[in-house]
Amino acid sequence: MKIRVETLDRGAVVIPEGRLDFGAAAGFPAELERAIAQAGGAAVLVDCAALDYVSSAGLRALLVAVKAAQRVRCSFALYALRPAVREVFDLSGFGKIIAVFPDRATALGAAAPTPP
């Protein structure tokens, strides 16, 4: 699975491409945690538009990343999930523990720090 990372003003967007299956999941947490470290406590988003497939191994990798992000108070969210991937997400209850948005704009809007 190919993974690109785009740096933003306030964080990073991780862009996986292909299938997040058992094999791809092995290296995914390290990529996510690197992006979380680089984002410096801002926001890490995962752009799922090119994510064809996710299995329980992929969900586990995302869970590891959520916990890592929470530890450093970095916000973490996914956006643009494909319907089939969204279904697996919802079935496993992950929609309750990982924020999901329709697109980058709403995801970034939600990650913006609230004004005082």
Partner: protein, 138 residues
């Protein structure tokens, strides 16, 4: 009735071979592409369970996978020659747990049950057999 079968080593690295096997069956059978994902997912979860749990004493050598189409039913069988291991006895995940409380795991069998209409296990002739059936309604 159409049937396809493949045999792979009980090694996680063989997952790509099994994914290609499902996709080839789908292509030759002219089945709708979006209907493949539940089978690919069920196959991965079943196969990885065997590789992860069933090889405790490293005697599991091979995993046989069968896809069978009969009428509106599509059957997936994952069989291995390892020690007796029934994945359906694995504890279910706690889907309501918070991030902190949630253990990392337990989802595989649950997803198989969600994706398939019927799931059953039997031990026969020194093999574990997990049979999963899904009926196509259109």
């Amino acid at each position: 009735m159409t049937e396809a079968r493949t045999v792979v080593a009980a090694d996680a690295g063989q997952l790509a071979v099994l994914t290609a096997f499902v996709q080839e069956f789908w292509r030759t059978q002219g089945l709708p592409q979006q209907a493949a994902l539940p089978f690919e997912l069920a196959l991965e979860e079943a196969f990885i369970n065997v590789v992860t749990h069933g090889t405790a004493d490293a005697t599991t050598a091979v995993v046989a996978v069968v896809l069978r189409r009969a009428g509106a039913d599509l059957t997936l069988v994952v069989a291995d020659d390892g020690p007796a291991f029934d994945p359906l006895t694995l504890p279910p995940p706690d889907l309501s747990a918070s991030v902190e409380a949630r253990p990392v795991g337990g989802l595989g069998v649950y997803l198989i049950r969600q994706m398939m209409d019927a799931v059953s296990y039997r031990r026969v002739d020194g093999r574990n057999e997990l049979t999963m059936v899904k009926r196509f309604t259109g």
